[in-house]
Assembly symmetry: C2
DNA sequence: ATAAAAGTTAGACATCTGTCCAAGAATTAG
DNA sequence: CTAATTCTTGGACAGATGTCTAACTTTTAT
């Protein structure tokens, strides 16, 4: 990302970012991410190529921004009141619901992206950036490093979601909770 | 991979594959994988570009082949005699030793590839292809799907290795086993 | 209202990508 | 040994990439 998104983001910048991310979301429902070109993105977004490179390093950079847009729907900060035990299921449920609510879109994307590149990229984005919101939850009752526990927690969530939605094993949320508990050893 | 590696691999083919994979291993010790071009690879390997595209789809394809070369050093098939409990530590130890034995090379690669793309790619390669060698180990004592258990097992191993070697927390193998056991709930 | 600062855009550029084909080399079979 | 088959290679190609610059527009501050 070549332009800071947080600070004094004018309406224009927001609109531009939205246009590019929407264009990519649009394209990966029709073809594989590998085949998507910057020219296609800029055509759908209806901005010049220069503007694309003004905002993003390349299409991978835009993809990361897309993940941040997607996960902004999840990372609502009301996790102060929950404890360690339920944190994993709370976050799991949010991701589960987000996917369920956009099942048609996800289906199209997965159909056109049979290699696991996209889900691996999302997974990586979640694990490497996701620690921030839960770091106050894992208390010091064990001598394991907090960051390690967090990574393992997120990885476990991702594995169950992958099993359900990518590998297509239809599990109810309750069954999924049992799986989660077994894996996580709660 | 555009050429089948298993069947009747002539000496020439082996030499060509080796030259390309060695060239890439060489290059990522000097610069980031993102910046590596096919032209650089073919120059170091001293083969024409056509030959590269004869063997590989693109540099990502070659990278996957490099992972297979690297992991061939690990996947020696003597895992029949071990049980579920020790399988995770056996595989962990092999990866741990492989990294330790090639620490100087890994250091250089990591220094030039600060984004986690390379390790994410390797992790993904291990998880998506690694199930085969251990599938006879996880017996049916639990009603969890075998594939899910395997994914979780490999993910846990990877997280601890990542913590030690990528995040640079110096742990002895014995300490690492304790961490593994805590996370995995053995 | 005006000037300075900041952001946007068009086009040119060198380089890279992946595909194709036809000539040449090497391997295999009869 | 020769012919058939397969593999390797060089060169050409259209399109994509990412950088740069200079003009242009918008925003901000005075």
């Amino acid at each position: 990302m070549r332009i800071e998104t947080k600070k004094s983001q004018s309406r224009n910048k927001k609109r531009t970012l939205l246009a590019f991310s929407a264009a990519l979301f649009n394209l990966v429902q029709k073809q594989s991410f590998e085949k998507v070109t910057v020219n296609q993105i800029r055509e759908i977004a209806d901005y010049p190529r220069s503007t694309f490179y003004n905002y993003f390093e390349d299409k991978f950079d835009l993809l990361d921004y897309c993940w941040s847009v997607l996960l902004d729907q999840i990372n609502v900060p009301n996790t102060d009141s929950i404890n360690n035990q339920t944190a994993i299921t709370v976050y799991f449920d949010r991701e589960y619901d987000l996917i369920k609510d956009n099942m048609d879109t996800f289906e199209k994307i997965l159909r056109n992206n049979p290699s696991n590149f996209l889900s691996a990229s999302l997974n990586n984005y979640i694990v490497s950036g996701g620690g921030k919101m839960f770091e106050h939850i894992f208390t010091d009752e064990t001598d394991m490093p907090k960051e390690l526990l967090l990574n393992h927690c997120f990885a476990t969530i991702t594995i169950v979601l992958d099993w359900i939605f990518i590998k297509h094993h239809d599990l109810s949320k309750e069954q999924a909770h049992v799986y989660l508990a077994n894996l996580y050893g709660i």
